[in-house]
């Protein structure tokens, strides 16, 4: 072919038109809002020089009538393609806010659906970088149908390949449903927001004044609604966070998670600092993350939903390079009780790990469920049941270590032996009982306490006795509900060998279309 001939010339001209969509003017527009362009985001997300764009030149739909004027473009406002993240195949789409406000038209949607089909075919994770004005009004029902098609594929892929949504701009109306179906939602503080109905409509219908950020900003979703699991201060850190998350996940539900080099330092297997963390006084708080960080490989703990339902800590960690999912009660928030938010947070995390064959470690220190009218009326019963169901339904290896309190229903829920826990360990500070010592003796010795001259003193003495005789891990140990009471210092060593033994675990639940998890 003659590089100066008509054929190649036409090829180059077309390329130029295409590149002009991504000129410095459009870059400035995004930067002026504190946002990066779609191309810049892709460059940060993927390993250098590995991204290959697909369907770059697909054209927008044609304008139709007065209400359907569309500014034609190549690509229709979304970049789709594949590349490598840490050397592994990953598919991604990035909406381009500069082109028709990143709005979803029929072609835009078709591209995303094509990408979803590809990801599912190849069994590789798919990441959506969302920055869109929403459905394209000009294309009417075709836009909505586009969304529906995307949602359908999100659901088909759910539990088959990891799906991550990164909200880097607006996501409003129907657009929020795709992210909420995906496994993880990342948001960037102050420049991204998600809501079903925007402030304008809220003002019109309810006459309430609210800003974009207050209604559905990143902080709202990270702290209050729990819709966003990860929040970062700027886009670069957000995308680096996505890269980090991917390094823990398998590419599909048939593979195991990628491994890193085992921690060379074997002296960490015996860690005396673990003995010092949990106080003997059952009412003193501590930070369970200190325990987690001493058990997992150094700096390998990646917390999910850090700001939401802080009374339960969930996240990924590594033991000798192998990924595990960690669920731990946090005694320094709400005394570690379980409530609605923490139950749903834990349940979703367990379901994800179960879908992708990630073994689970549960660190337990829970005095029970949070009491109160608010919790009861809001349905703590069915939300708590979600956590229970998720545990019981999980067929991945499940290990529990009871650090301190484990009372009543919460004992059952937190992966107890009869709920299917594979290995259940306890520390010497563990207290396993139907209820706490004070509560128990108040009931069992009601008559004696009423008749005593110093009921407070008697109650204290009885509580101490109860703690010694009943609320300790040895009773459970002797009945076989605890496999072993261990020295906290050797927890890491114990867990490493336990997970190793469970590597090949395979069990199935009865065949059915799917269970009926309380929702």
């Amino acid at each position: 072919m003659d590089v100066n001939g008509r054929n190649f010339k036409k090829f180059l001209e077309r390329q130029q038109v295409f590149e002009s969509q991504y000129d410095s003017e459009s870059m400035k527009k995004q930067h002026a809002k504190g946002k990066l362009t779609a191309r810049e985001r892709i460059a940060i997300l993927f390993d250098e020089n590995t991204f290959e764009e697909v369907d770059a030149y697909v054209s927008s739909a044609k304008s139709e009538g007065d209400f359907g004027k569309i500014k034609g473009s190549f690509g229709d406002g979304v970049i789709i393609g594949h590349g490598q993240v840490h050397g592994r195949l990953v598919f991604a789409y990035a909406q381009d806010f500069n082109i028709m406000g990143g709005s979803l038209g029929s072609i835009h949607a078709a591209k995303i659906m094509k990408l979803q089909d590809m990801a599912l075919k190849m069994g590789a994770p798919i990441i959506g970088l969302i920055d869109s004005g929403g459905a394209r009004i000009q294309e009417g029902v075709a836009s909505l149908a586009g969304y529906a098609g995307i949602f359908y594929r999100n659901v088909q892929a759910s539990g088959v390949i990891p799906q991550i949504s990164v909200i880097l701009g607006p996501a409003a109306g129907g657009a929020v449903y795709s992210p909420s179906i995906t496994d993880y939602v990342f948001m960037t503080n102050k420049t991204s927001y998600m809501f079903v109905t925007g402030p304008n409509v809220v003002k019109e219908v309810l006459n309430e004044d609210v800003t974009f950020d207050d209604l559905g900003g990143a902080e709202v979703h990270a702290k209050k609604s729990g819709v966003a699991q990860m929040i970062f201060e700027d886009e670069e850190n957000t995308l680096m966070g996505v890269r980090r998350l991917i390094s823990y996940l398998p590419s599909n539900n048939l593979e195991n998670c990628p491994e890193t080099e085992p921690d060379e330092d074997e002296t960490r297997d015996v860690e005396e600092k673990l003995r010092d963390i949990v106080p003997d006084d059952a009412n003193k708080p501590y930070d369970v993350k200190d325990v987690i960080n001493l058990i997992v490989d150094k700096r390998s703990f990646y917390e999910i939903s850090e700001r939401f339902a802080q009374n339960l800590v969930v996240g990924f960690g590594r033991l000798d390079g192998k990924v595990i999912g960690i669920i731990a009660n946090q005694p320094k928030v709400l005394a570690g009780t379980l409530d609605i938010d923490s139950s749903t947070k834990g349940a979703r995390f367990i379901r994800f790990c179960d879908s992708f064959n990630i073994p689970l470690l549960t660190l337990e220190d829970v005095p029970g469920f949070l009491p109160g009218i608010d919790q009861e009326h809001s349905g703590i019963i069915r939300h708590g049941a979600k956590l229970l169901y998720a545990y019981a339904d999980a067929t991945v290896p499940r290990i529990t270590v009871i650090l301190r309190k484990s009372y009543g229903g919460a004992y059952c829920v937190m992966n107890s032996k009869n709920l299917g826990g594979d290995f259940n360990f306890a520390w010497p500070t563990a207290e396993i009982a139907v209820m706490g010592p004070e509560g128990a003796v108040a009931i069992l010795y009601r008559k004696e306490l009423a008749a005593s001259d110093d009921p407070a003193k008697l109650k204290k003495e009885l509580a101490v006795k109860y703690r010694d005789e009943i609320a300790n891990p040895y009773v459970a140990d002797e009945k076989g509900f605890i496999d072993e009471v261990i020295d906290p210092a050797i927890t890491r060593k114990k867990l490493k060998s336990a997970f190793l033994a469970l590597e090949n675990k395979y069990i199935t639940n009865p065949t059915r279309k799917h269970g009926n998890i309380p929702l």
Binding site: H86, R243, S247, E259, Y506
Partner: protein, 499 residues
């Protein structure tokens, strides 16, 4: 009357300090163990431990008079040293000791009771012709009384708790509008801290210097003073830095004030160690404030410049011995400065910084003395005070002491909590402090920024933050992911998953 065993009803640095002297004197020491700090250092320094870990009542361990008395009797211990704080100035405790024939190392319960009441103490001063500030003779009936009195004395006035101390239960009212609110605040605080809401009122001297004299007396009527301590570097009436001698006193003023202090002690029939506190105004007029009938936190500076072990003297006095020296034998030599290092965040308004002291280290030198109850791994709890250590530095003169202090503080390293070391540094950098030119308003008016940092330090901290971030990034990015292992699933599993 020889004391062969002492129970130290205290903890932390003062417990260790008392035990060291007792051990030197061949006396057996007992310490009290609490559930709040079962691994505290002071427990290791005692010969025997009495375990108060069982939580029998709501009374805090070191305030539980009967339990302590019982422990002393049960173990046949000769004497009790209360240290400072806790029961040190509790007349009931002293009385119970007297009743049970336990040697209370301190003054008599009657003296403690009298001097413990600020209005009674002032009466005694008045009787002994010691200068006093205008104020209420007794306690005030209510806020209204306070207001009327204040109007009579003239503003500003200070409302003080009669049973108070350590800076608590006091508020200044600048004008009539403030009196009622300040009265209530101070009275409530006093009721909570000292179980006594009674208040008295005094003319408030703006920007005085706080000068106190160390008194030592035996049971035979011999009383001496061991010079003064300058304690004007205070924050909200809590002393932070003390020194002896005071740069504000000349030998003449020292003699006058010292004699006044001795007069008060004599007037009340004092024996053991005690401290008479004065205010010195800008005109070098002094006024009696109160007498503390206990050993004080800052006693080491007096020990450094007089060469006298105050705890040893207290024990000897308790044994009935006569003081081995007279006033003419007391000479102040050199200069000593004490820096209290607390677990507080200076940059956040001295808010408490609780936690574990992971590591602590200071320079050992003949001019440096460190009194501390904290070692590597000690926990600063919310149950007790936030003191980490007392750094006491000696020099042949004030200038040398200041230099030595800068050095010692630079080499004092603490890891695990925020501390007031940066505050000490800021004070040492201050020109007026170095000149000896300061009073109790130093922190609020003279020291603009309460912590000191060299210009390159923020840059170095910034560098380290960036370095650590870059290093983490490099590690995360550089981590090799072994995907192959993830694909090597045993046939057993793969078979099942495929189904």
């Amino acid at each position: 009357m020889k004391i062969k065993s002492i129970l130290i009803a205290n903890r932390g640095e003062i417990a260790i300090r008392i035990m060291r002297t007792a051990r030197r004197m061949g006396i057996r020491t007992y310490a009290i163990k609490t559930a709040k700090e079962p691994n505290a250092w002071y427990l290791d320094e005692a010969d025997d431990i009495i375990d108060f870990s069982e939580c029998l009542s709501d009374t805090p361990e070191f305030l539980d008079i009967e339990r302590i008395i019982h422990a002393v009797r049960e173990n046949n211990i000769d004497a009790v040293h209360p240290g400072y704080g806790f029961l040190a100035e509790n007349p009931i405790f002293a009385r119970r000791c007297e009743e049970e024939n336990i040697n209370f190392i301190g003054p008599s319960s009657e003296v403690i009771y009298n001097m413990g009441n600020k209005t009674v103490a002032k009466d005694i001063a008045r009787k002994n012709k010691v200068p006093l500030l205008r104020g209420s003779k007794g306690t005030l009936l209510n806020a209204d009384y306070a207001r009327r009195f204040a109007n009579a004395i003239g503003y500003p006035v200070i409302l003080k708790a009669a049973a108070g101390g350590g800076g608590r239960g006091m508020r200044v009212a600048e004008n009539e509008e403030e009196v009622e609110r300040m009265y209530n605040l101070a009275s409530n605080e006093s009721a909570k801290a000292f179980n006594d809401p009674a208040m008295f009122i005094e003319k408030y001297v703006a920007q005085p210097r706080h000068i106190e004299f160390q008194i030592l007396a035996d049971k035979h009527g011999n009383i001496v003073h061991l010079g003064e301590r300058e304690c004007s570097i205070q924050r909200k009436h809590q002393k932070l830095i003390e020194e002896s001698p005071s740069p504000a006193l000349d030998p003449e003023l020292r003699e006058t004030m010292g004699n006044a202090a001795v007069d008060i002690a004599k007037g009340v029939g004092y024996f053991s160690a005690g401290t008479v506190e004065f205010l010195l105004d800008a005109d070098r007029k002094f006024y009696f404030m109160e007498m503390n009938t206990r050993i004080q936190v800052e006693h080491p500076v007096t020990e450094m410049v007089t060469g006298i072990d105050l705890i040893e003297q207290m024990i000897k006095v308790a044994q009935g011995e006569k003081l081995p020296f007279a006033q003419k034998d007391i000479r102040l030599k050199g200069h000593a400065i004490e820096f209290r290092i607390n677990a507080e965040d200076v940059q956040s308004g001295f808010s408490p910084s609780l936690g574990t002291i992971e590591k602590i280290s200071w320079p050992e030198s003949k001019n440096v003395r460190v009194d501390t109850g904290v070692r590597d791994g000690s926990v600063i709890t919310p149950y007790f005070d936030s003191m980490i250590a007392k750094l006491i530095v000696y020099g042949e003169d004030r200038e040398k002491a200041l230099q030595e202090s800068s050095n010692a503080i630079r080499k004092f390293w603490i890891k695990g909590t925020k501390t007031t070391l940066s505050f000490c540094r800021a004070v040492l950098q201050n020109r007026n402090f170095r000149k000896g030119n300061f009073n109790t308003s130093f922190l609020s008016s003279e020291l603009k920024i309460h912590y000191h940092s060299e210009p390159e330090e923020e840059m170095l901290a910034a560098f380290f933050a960036v370095f650590d971030f870059a290093r983490d990034l490099e590690e995360a990015e550089g981590k090799k992911l072994n995907v192959e292992k993830g694909k090597n699933i045993t046939p057993w599993l793969l078979n099942k998953r495929l189904r």
